[in-house]
Symmetry: C2
Subunit: 410 residues, 2 copies
């Protein structure tokens, strides 16, 4: 029998009533003849409540203990969903992260899955049971409970789909698919029927917020077809796969935007080789994610390197840099806040030169200053003042034909 | 260094404020120079709330899944208490049941601890850390999460004390010691300074409610000194140990009582050997606890056997008996409810004949009918109508000199 991995997020399991609703949806897929693994998140606001309790005790709780605390959230959901499935007459068995054999690296609060030992889950499937697995969590090789960081449950689902060689991984969520842009803020944004992993990866990385990039990365690496669909309505979602049909006249497939970006600039007394590698190696070792990097060596000015980080990572970044000032050999640092990133994404961009130029031209005409630029084969990102973010996104969405009512985004 | 195991129950850790208070108490013991293992229960009403959620979904949730659900309660407490200890500058590390190496039999919701592999906890102690262990929970040899049933956290604490060869196991609770009877219902009940394991065992078994009998049993078997003391006030509690000084004029040391007792009577067409063993072996195999047993074989009447169970076990008992009717070969069953058990306990009873007679005489004078009787070397229990329970307890407490203001219970 084919295996299907389905994942339900926190809002889909926020109450016992919704958990019962999820159980009924699983029942339908089970009747379609699949072996089913369900991955679930913590119920609704549970995680926030647990974090609040920890903060009542300490403003800087240990990451190891936060993982022990937060993983109880999914453990509650797996047991309740198993009980709900039993209620419908469906055999089901719950698995915490360690019971499902999800082994991660030894990095509290933001671990990557290293491997999955799926024997116990496989045994359950062979016995005809639905396996209900706690998302977001695992165990490291020292037996510590770990968590996978934001969006971790998506990653759990895709990694299990890969380990079990599943036919597909369906991510049920509170939106009904991936859109050309966020419909709450961008006029005329429409749902995409299909998207390539790479396009999704760029959109996910750029704050589209539907899927965590790590989950898409794992799906791409193992070529696991994924879908994003609604927990509430029975409508077709968006399918992610390797190859999709690209409409010629829709070179750009999505416009993403993300607020709360900080541009840091590190100044050196003099340029010297290796400093650039040093700085980013040091930051990576300390688990600080850096996004866009721009190096400026202009004769007559102080050599510098600029990079962008999320606002939430600013304190960590500054601390790591100051702790390593001696080795890194820089002179001083400054940073600029109140920035945002706006990006256009599309697989077709690689064979359509001039897309970036059109983008810059439009932003110029809108009077929006561009602070940083980054390009890849399938996307162009710009950093702009945060107050211009939505104006930029709407203008670009319209510029590249995504908002036109006559065309149906494929 | 000597190891001390301390246990805090649900009311002692009901809020983050109380958890901070517990951390401060541990800090004091740590300053006394002990290596410390703390065992904790779930916060306050957490367990009840989790049970309610499960019952919103199903009136008969699977025991395996209930164990997965309920064990999240202690997992929350261990992480929060560890965070609170860190806040005070104390190194601490949390351990779930499986992380602490607590291996139980494969009996969901009411497992016994089979053995403890204390390596991880020991490593933490050696590293100078306070080990914060989740009570009430373990793991069976198939990797399922199990729970130890009511009072399970006390058992966890004593079993760990035994595995680590601890100097003492202190049970912090919402009462400040063991009393001659429940002071809420019995006039003049007073705190005991010392008690033997056997006396406590009888009192615990008889509904005194302070400690779970299994925990006292483990303490007795491994000769671990225990104390019961208050989480709130810094006063001496009651010490439990093997040998205590018995005051000659206090033969009876405690009066215990327990409501909600059912007397079942199983009738046979004819007496036959083995039926008695069969019935209780069958019940034991199905994890039904039977208390007092009385067999009646009177010429000319239908042979029968009566036994008492707790009201909460009535449905299970009836189901097990009816499922095994063919093998057990009985004719029919009836039962009487609205009964209670009242008992007197004291190590000195073995060398003081006539105690039981004084008990029956006093009950007769009070006009209280005795429905069943059970005696051991250190206790006499009677089953009486529930409406007479407190009257009987007060009368016996007074009869055996426990209420006298002039004497101090030792």
């Amino acid at each position: 029998m084919s295996t299907l991995v389905v994942k339900f997020g926190g809002t889909s399991v926020a109450t016992t009533e919704r958990i019962m609703h999820v159980a009924k949806r699983i029942q339908r897929e089970k009747q379609n003849g699949y072996d089913i693994v369900v991955v679930v998140s913590a119920m609704g606001k549970t995680t926030d409540q647990l974090v609040d309790m920890a903060h009542e005790i300490s403003e800087s709780p240990s990451k190891r203990e936060m993982d022990v605390l937060l993983t109880t959230g999914e453990q509650v959901t797996i047991s309740l969903l198993s009980i709900a499935l039993h209620k419908l007459g469906i055999e089901a068995k719950s698995f915490t992260g360690w019971q499902a054999g999800i082994v991660t690296e030894h990095v509290p609060s933001n671990a990557r899955i290293e491997n999955i030992k799926p024997k116990a889950v496989n045994d359950a499937l062979k016995a005809g049971e639905v396996a209900v697995v706690a998302g977001f969590q695992g165990i490291d090789d020292e037996g510590n409970i770990t968590t996978l960081g934001r969006g971790g449950s998506d990653t759990t689902a895709v990694a299990i789909a890969s380990a079990l060689n599943a036919e597909r991984c369906d991510i049920y969520t509170d939106v009904d698919g991936v859109y050309t842009s966020d419909p709450r803020f961008v006029k005329g944004a429409r749902k995409l029927k299909e998207l390539s992993y790479d396009e999704m990866l760029e959109l996910a990385n750029l704050g589209a917020g539907v899927l965590h990039p790590r989950s898409v990365e794992v799906a791409k690496n193992h070529n696991i077809p994924m879908s994003v669909r609604s927990s509430y309505e029975d409508v077709e979602g968006t399918i992610l796969k390797e190859e999709i049909e690209v409409e010629k006249d829709l070179v750009v497939r999505g416009v993403a935007f993300e607020p709360d970006i900080i541009r840091l600039t590190v100044y050196y007394k003099e340029a010297y080789n290796g400093s650039l590698a040093n700085i980013f190696t040091t930051l990576a070792k300390n688990h600080v994610n850096v996004d866009i990097i721009v190096q400026t060596i202009i004769q007559g000015t102080q050599p510098s390197v600029s990079f962008s980080v999320k606002k939430e990572n600013l304190q960590d970044t500054l601390q790591v840099l100051s702790e390593h000032k001696d080795i890194l050999g820089y002179d001083h640092i400054d940073y600029e806040g109140e920035l945002a990133k706006v990006s256009i994404v599309g697989s077709g961009m690689v064979s359509n030169p001039g897309v970036a130029a059109s983008m810059f031209d439009r932003l110029y005409r809108e009077g929006i200053p561009v602070k940083m630029v980054s390009t890849s084969e399938i996307k162009v990102s710009v950093v702009v003042p945060q107050e211009d973010m939505l104006k930029a996104a709407n203008a670009l969405h319209e510029e590249f034909g995504l908002s036109l009512k006559e065309k149906v985004a494929q």
